[in-house]
Symmetry: C2
Subunit: 317 residues, 2 copies
């Protein structure tokens, strides 16, 4: 980030008509965006939400409460404007792009083979990287029946701990479903155990196309200094292998919210990210991040719109 | 609240294209507003923020980091559009009313006498009640140098516990300032100890005009079924004496945020209110509540804008 812009924004916050620090995280958000956007007064003029969609071979193992057909049905719903992310992106004044990734060709069941071939994995990385374009704030969302299982596998492969520590109910499976998810993740970790020391190999073997695309978007946005608002457990899991490249790879990310999926708070703790919101959401699609954009917009409204003590003729503290 | 409208809104939430409950508190907010607004699809068409301002006799005891003149200076800043609440109300699409209450005549020092006479207290209640008008969502804010001390006194008188449990740094006093605030609250509780069993008498003796106005607005909004978004420690303290009338008097209120003022979380716990946001804000003016309105708007955008499973042709779970 641009330390000069950060310092200028921080100085401005100290001059605005309020006790120093009294806007709390709103002040931090404005300074954070100043650094990544490289200007004292950051703005969101091209805020974009991108929802990547993929299908998962592990769905055949009974890891989801919904059938795999729902992925393509929900993509149609996104395109028709009827999903939560449509309403929430509109409310946050974000453009919404929907990027389905080979939905008629699910990834391989990662308990049997790598989820993706090399070319498939690279195509997903490229699709993600291409989505950043001219955004000045990026929400990265996903849709993919079965993808909490892939996300748990990525977290376990990247950060260790038991599979059960990363598995949760997802869209709403019962205890038996959770047990199947744990077994699936454990089987994947065993099958691929000789290949889990390289970030892109972890992504290829255990991830899914929509998660790999988020990883590609995270890399491109970091290199382009575009701040990102992370959504829930699955979107956040895309960072985890990248921390093997650089533990601070998530530094341009704001954790939009903490989802109700129990592994999410553990992921955020490991990444050193403090969520803006905790609203017990667990939908994905970028929905929690889109709500968080409202908070970021409020932060910038105060930062850019308030008068200084000198301008307003108010005595400082 | 209208139980029929609540039930209809709850049924609608179960039909929208998402796993049941996956929008978490956004679903609760939509159902809450449906009940208080009496319609399955609640809306915010006349959202209003009102900032009441008052001056406090206890300021002479060194309880604030800012001089009393700042109250009138900040009212001028509100009117000129330069304060945080101006920016945040605009961002949340709220109209903003500023109601200064006899700023050139501070309340009496409550360690020496009742803060207000009977007529003054009633005038403040009426000013608050008059502010509700045609609002369909109300943010109640305050400005008053010294008013965290009055708020702490109200909380202590209404809920018990030691003065020190309700006193905090406010706009930023040091340990000596906090000690002066504790002494001031304790002296007030002793002086008025024979008169603290009646809610309006607690308000009159220990409150301030802006806090009493918030109490008036809370009563009028409750009777008019207008949902309220509470701000921080001071705004919330206005409820505390009213719980002697009815412990559920805050049931039409959403706790917009939990402020950094340490007494606020204790107040919310006592009132059974769970804050929407926790952004380390401690400014008052209705600022935290105005940010919370963004979350409420997102909740209604999803509730009113999403397609049902049947409309979208998506398979249910």
């Amino acid at each position: 980030p641009d330390q000069g812009a950060r310092a200028a924004a921080s100085k401005r916050q100290g001059q605005l008509t309020k006790p120093p620090g009294s806007l709390g995280r709103l002040e931090e958000l404005a300074i954070f965006l100043a650094g990544w956007q490289g200007r004292e007064r950051p703005m969101i003029e091209h805020g974009r939400a991108v929802v990547f969609a993929g299908n998962h071979g592990v769905v055949a193992r009974g890891v989801s409460a919904f059938p795999a057909d729902v992925t393509v049905q929900m993509v149609a719903n996104f395109r028709a404007g009827g999903a939560a992310i449509n309403a929430l992106a509109k409310a946050a004044n974000l453009t919404l792009d929907v990027v389905p990734l080979d939905l008629d060709r699910p990834t391989a069941d990662f308990t049997q083979a790598p989820a993706m071939g090399e070319a498939e994995c690279l195509a997903a990385l490229n699709a993600g990287a291409a989505s950043v374009m001219d955004a000045d704030l990026l929400v990265l969302g996903e849709m993919g029946i079965g993808n909490t299982t892939a996300a748990a596998a990525l977290a376990a492969a990247s950060f260790g701990a038991r599979a059960a520590d990363w598995v949760g109910p997802g869209t709403g499976v019962d205890a038996q479903g959770i047990a199947r998810k744990v077994e699936t993740v454990e089987a994947g970790l065993v099958l691929h155990r000789e290949h889990l020391d390289a970030p892109f190999e972890i992504l290829r073997r255990l991830g899914g196309r929509e998660i790999v695309a988020i990883a590609g978007a995270l890399l491109a946005s970091r290199l382009g200094r575009v701040p990102v608002v992370l959504d829930g457990f699955i979107a956040t899991s895309a960072i985890t292998p990248l921390t093997l490249l650089n533990p601070a790879i998530g530094d341009h990310c704001i954790a939009g919210h903490c989802s109700a999926e129990p592994g999410h708070i553990r992921l955020l703790d490991r990444l050193g990210l403090e969520p803006l919101l905790a609203l017990d959401m667990r939908l994905g699609e970028g929905s929690g991040a889109a709500v968080a954009v409202q908070i970021i917009r409020a932060a910038l409204a105060a930062h850019n719109g308030m008068a200084t003590f000198a301008e307003a003729g108010v005595a400082g503290g």
